[in-house]
């Protein structure tokens, strides 16, 4: 893991970025030991998952804006050529249509894999997601369901995205019973989680950290594998403080953990992976061990999903906690362009919070 981080550091410097993104999977899970893995980036891992999904289920479809030629992030490269234009196709520019169409297609027993070009544009589809997809099974008394629906969308900071190419809207969806929200941290995770999402019997919103599309590179097994949903993963063990995050933010948190270690603070880092329904048990067990919790996400702090994690853990672990739960998140502003670095929850903001929490 350390060597891959070094590699990213060099790459980051050469790209003049202040962030050092990209992350790799921990080796705890033996099912992931590559039988035949190749070093690929995130969009290639997503692409592999989609190839496998369409190959293994003749009733799986991929559709959205510009997916046919390969997509604006190349996640759908080669699919139309291999599976045909009836299974992989462009849609008109209309998110409410894309998701509504996907709901109907899924309701007929198909795997409908819809792409929203940027998470920033998912809002026109909010009605179809919240009022329709999320309630489809429940309101019909389980006569109907659209469990075959998976909505993929790139999310998060990219260095120059501004208001409308950087948003992290996961909190809006975490408030909706009936759907699942899943966010991978790395290529290997993304492939396994996406396949699980596609094959899950519930409608799922899958946010892909766009910053990592090119920059995160790791060994990804070439075979068909799935990773469990609603199971958080302890990717770094520690004893003084628990850190919880998801997606690209984990790599920032990892750096903060490394720096904290130099000051003798042992950090436990957890990747939540599935935001709803989320794995409270793993986080609770960790906080019982450490007595401290810090949550970090790019989305604005007020009403962000960190608030839910904080409230739930305080309910469960109040007497065990040595300090208030810390949230290091984006500011309560639209995502700015020139001020991006000021807005984001950076490594040093997290490190400062680790120290003040431990020294509370």
């Amino acid at each position: 893991m350390a060597s891959s981080l070094r590699r990213y550091g060099r790459r980051a410097v050469s790209m003049c970025r202040t962030r050092k993104p990209a992350f790799s999977t921990s080796c705890d899970d033996t099912s992931l030991l590559p039988q035949s893995g190749t070093s690929i980036n995130l969009f290639s891992a997503i692409n592999q998952a989609l190839h496998i999904a369409l190959e293994t289920d003749s009733r799986a479809y991929v559709f959205g804006e510009d997916v046919s030629f390969g997509g604006v992030f190349r996640c759908t490269t080669g699919l139309a050529d291999r599976f045909g234009k009836h299974r992989v196709f462009n849609t008109p520019l209309c998110e409410q249509g894309i998701v509504g169409f996907g709901v109907g297609l899924a309701a007929m027993g198909n795997r409908a894999i819809a792409e929203i070009q940027f998470a920033d544009y998912i809002y026109p589809a909010f009605d179809q997601i919240v009022n329709e997809a999320a309630k489809f099974r429940y309101r019909s008394g389980n006569q109907f369901n659209c469990g075959g629906l998976t909505i993929r969308a790139p999310y998060g900071a990219v260095g120059h995205g501004g208001h409308y190419h950087s948003q992290s809207p996961e909190a809006f969806f975490c408030h909706v019973p009936g759907i699942k929200v899943v966010i991978p941290r790395s290529p290997q995770q993304a492939k396994g989680l996406l396949l699980s999402c596609i094959r899950d019997s519930n409608p799922i919103v899958f946010f892909e950290p766009k910053w990592l599309y090119r920059l995160a590179v790791e060994e990804v097994p070439e075979h068909d594998y799935m990773l469990p949903l609603s199971e958080a993963e302890v990717i770094r063990e520690g004893s003084d403080i628990t850190l919880v995050g998801w997606g690209a933010q984990l790599s920032i948190m990892e750096e903060a953990c490394l720096d904290a270690e130099k000051d003798g603070i042992s950090c436990e880092l957890i990747d939540l992976k599935t935001l709803i329904p989320w794995d409270k048990e793993t986080v609770e067990a960790s906080v019982r061990k450490t007595g401290r919790l810090l949550i970090s996400h790019e989305a604005p702090v007020t009403g962000g999903f960190g608030a839910e994690i904080s409230a739930s853990i305080v309910e469960r672990c109040f007497l065990r906690l040595e300090a208030p739960v810390a949230r290091i998140c984006g500011l309560d502003t639209p995502f700015p362009l020139v001020f991006e670095t000021f807005y984001l929850p950076t490594k040093n903001k997290i490190l400062d919070a680790i120290k003040s929490t431990v020294n509370y």
């Binding site: 179809q128 329709e132 006569q143």
Partner: protein
């Protein structure tokens, strides 16, 4: 890009006739009726000739020449233009060749005439001379009439039940019985229905029982929806009727997705989805028509244009010529039909279905009608429209009576032996027993509106009594089906809730088993 010029008079004239008249923007008032003629060049025979609807295969080879000649003859303005000898050029742009003109002309915001409305029966149930329609068998016609009457009675009794506080809410379909029943009759059981909420007649036609309707309205343990939604939010998988949801027009893009599935599976079936005039203003309407055209999905969009979206009349809903003209904007074949003429509705939907399946394309059907009832039991429509207008449509333009007259004229319906039946019914009621099976007018062969009305009313009252007494679904159904399997947070919440109920049982209704 190929750009070529026609300078000679002869070639220009030839080209005008053959190709470019239809697409030229050089006409001040683009005659929409003739544009529609071109699309409906196959359907023109329906209104003018004495023959039945021709089979789909021969209908739709619209000839550009024929179309342009018709247009060429239609208006003075067009004639003058050709005398001018304007220079016509054809230009290639992404999206196809288009003629252009040096005269700046705007297409008018409306056509000279509104799109005509297809009807077959006049207001007195008489077949219009020379009308063309799909023949309906005696059995089908009687079933259609019976269902229309049943729907009326069902609506009346459930509405009253809500007024009495026995159910919380109800929505009637009064005035729209022909759209409901005739459209359902024109489809097969394999066609997938995605309704709005004013189409229970389709379920009725497909065999949903009065007891099943009542169960959903009471949200009891036999409700297929497990008591989760308000009354009238029916859904039935076995009848291929997707569960109703309250948000308007959300079913429309879903219908396109479902139709795409049928297309991929090469099924001999289509999707039929319904919405109102109000629903056509929603974004989902525009999204779905556009998607349907691009995906070439076998879906029929049926608009029940009943004049009102709660209290909002047509003029405050849109300024187009209704909904039918919007079809062409998306490249969809469309028809306007008299929604109170059951035969016309039946014919149009039957033909639309054939087209949708054989040609794998969407069709838009606008059925003009009137919402006789209030929007729902939460509405009093006399607050925003005159009572005599409602009365007029209820009596003089009643679709059920109109169809009955036609059925009667065919000798398929009679009110014979009515007095005997009346006394039979009276006896049964006096004795206090409901010999429903003996009264069944379909088995007794003595079909009359009276007997049908009594039979249905009593069935319905009994269904309501049974539904009312039944227990509600058990508490566990609050937590199931949110996901395929309940996640840990729901299991925890169920546990905590049960503890709360033990402590405060008086806070909770007694008809929900814990």
């Amino acid at each position: 890009m190929a750009i070529w010029f026609t300078r000679s008079k002869n070639i220009a004239h030839y080209l005008n006739l053959k190709r470019y008249v239809g697409v030229s923007a050089g006409i001040v008032l683009l005659n929409h009726t003739s544009l529609n003629s071109s699309l409906q060049s196959s359907t023109i025979p329906l209104s003018r000739d004495n023959r039945r609807t021709p089979p789909a295969a021969t209908c739709f080879g619209s000839s550009a020449t024929l179309f342009s000649l018709r247009r060429f003859e239609s208006t003075e303005a067009e004639k003058r233009l050709y005398d001018y000898e304007d220079e016509y050029q054809a230009l290639d742009f992404p999206g196809g060749k288009v003629a252009f003109t040096s005269e700046m002309q705007f297409i008018s915001e409306s056509a000279e005439k509104r799109v005509p409305c297809y009807r077959v029966l006049d207001d007195h149930g008489q077949l219009v001379m020379g009308s063309s329609f799909e023949q309906v068998s005696k059995e089908a016609a009687v079933k259609m009439y019976g269902n229309m009457v049943t729907l009326q009675i069902m609506d009346t009794i459930f509405y009253e039940a809500q007024r009495q506080g026995r159910i919380s809410f109800y929505v009637t379909s009064l005035g729209e019985e022909a759209i409901n029943i005739a459209s359902a009759a024109a489809l097969t059981a394999d066609d997938i229905i995605l309704p709005q909420y004013r189409e229970p007649g389709i379920l009725l036609w497909r065999g949903f029982t009065l007891q099943e309707f009542a169960n959903q309205c009471f949200g009891n343990e036999a409700d297929y929806g497990k008591g989760r939604q308000m009354p009238i939010h029916y859904g039935s998988r076995k009848h291929n009727f997707f569960t109703i949801s309250s948000p308007i027009a959300t079913q429309l893009p879903q219908a396109v997705g479902a139709a795409y599935s049928l297309k991929m599976d090469k099924k001999d079936a289509c999707v039929v989805t319904y919405f109102g005039d109000g629903g056509s203003s929603e974004g989902d309407f525009h999204a779905s028509l556009n998607f349907a055209a691009v995906m070439e999905a076998p879906v029929i969009f049926i608009c029940r244009n009943n004049g009102w979206a709660i209290s909002t009349p047509i003029l405050e809903q849109f300024r187009s010529d209704g909904v039918v003209v919007k079809g062409q904007a998306y490249g969809i074949r469309s028809i306007r039909v008299d929604g109170n003429d059951a035969l016309a509705v039946y014919s149009a939907v039957h033909t639309a279905r054939e087209m949708a399946i054989s040609e794998q394309r969407p069709i838009l059907v606008e059925a003009l009608t009137y919402r006789v009832g209030h929007h729902s039991t939460s509405d009093d429509s006399t607050k925003y429209r005159p009572a005599d207008e409602i009365e007029y449509w209820k009596m003089a333009r009643n679709p059920v009576n109109r169809f009955r007259k036609w059925v009667e004229k065919n000798g398929w319906w009679s009110d014979k032996d009515e007095s005997e039946l009346r006394s039979n019914v009276r006896k049964q009621v006096e004795v206090g027993k409901l010999f429903i099976c003996l009264l069944n007018p379909f088995s007794s062969g003595q079909l009359s509106k009276f007997s049908l009305t009594c039979y249905t009313s009593m069935q319905l009252l009994q269904a309501i009594q049974v539904a009312e007494k039944m227990e509600k679904p058990p508490l566990v159904d609050l937590f199931t089906d949110v996901y395929d399997l309940p996640p840990s947070n729901l299991l925890e919440q169920e546990r905590l809730l049960k503890e709360t109920i033990k402590r405060h049982p008086q806070d909770y209704p007694s008809d929900v088993p814990v």
